[in-house]
Subunit: 142 residues, 2 copies
Amino acid sequence: MLKNMNFIEKLRETGLRPTKQRVKICEILFNREKTFHFTINDLAKKIFEELNEKISLATVYNTVHALQKKGYLKEISINSNKSYFDTNTSVHHHFYDEDTHQLIDCDENEIETVNIKKNITGKKINSVEVLVRVASDNQNQN
Amino acid sequence: MLKNMNFIEKLRETGLRPTKQRVKICEILFNREKTFHFTINDLAKKIFEELNEKISLATVYNTVHALQKKGYLKEISINSNKSYFDTNTSVHHHFYDEDTHQLIDCDENEIETVNIKKNITGKKINSVEVLVRVASDNQNQN
DNA sequence: TCAACAGTTTAGAATAATTATAATATATAA
DNA sequence: TTATATATTATAATTATTCTAAACTGTTGA
Ligand SMILES: [Mn+2]
Ligand SMILES: [Mn+2]
Ligand SMILES: [Zn+2]
Ligand SMILES: [Zn+2]
């Protein structure tokens, strides 16, 4: 689902009825330059800021899960108390800023391809993803 | 906290009172050959199997968090609905079996050192960890 | 055009993991 | 042994998420 699209068409193509709520959520999620990493709460807050009316939390959950199922969103595991979602659905790596709790995507060229030497018989590799945890460097005030 | 230790001594050394419950939990967690990856529920179940009396869930949480704070346990993020803990507290990589929901540690030599080319000014890297998701290979029945 | 129907939204209830509370019990220092 | 700080426990509270069931809306085809 790319930038500045007709989301009504797009939703219909993927078998999702283009309701007012879904179109608005798609605009918020996908009409942007960069990858968006968010929690359900981030999204609900942004919806309320951009619209003046609010969309039910249940609908936000429903829509995010529907978009995820259709492959337009990906869930990311950073910590275990809430779900993060990502508009970049490719297999890719992240920096996680432990101070600001922000996720940053890594481009292909920023992390060398990870070489896996282990093989588990009967199992295939679905994804290989790196998480780089960073925090402010208060040590070297030199 | 190594295998077959006097956990009463060990706990006292780290400033934790060696209560009956803590000693028993340490025995279950650390008296084993291999790394133990577990959820609070896994641990609570195992406690009830090995002891005949049960330890309050609140105490299980308290003890796991106390051990984590002292550096004897590490929290792992696999999915966002429950916490996984790891008796291997070093920075290391994992295979996650999406069929069985089991975590497997990677040895140093099983994944080549990940080369990070990106630098974020003012931030230092705390850890670089790889998660390899695997699942049963039903494709090649050839 | 518009009724019919399936799919969607919604508020609120239910669930599940985790954390907080506060009374009771225990470990340890004096 | 006794006093004090800490820990355990049952239970309540909290938080994220999912479920429910009634009201609503998008779409289809007469
Ligand atoms: Mn947690
Ligand atoms: Mn989830
Ligand atoms: Zn991303
Ligand atoms: Zn591990």
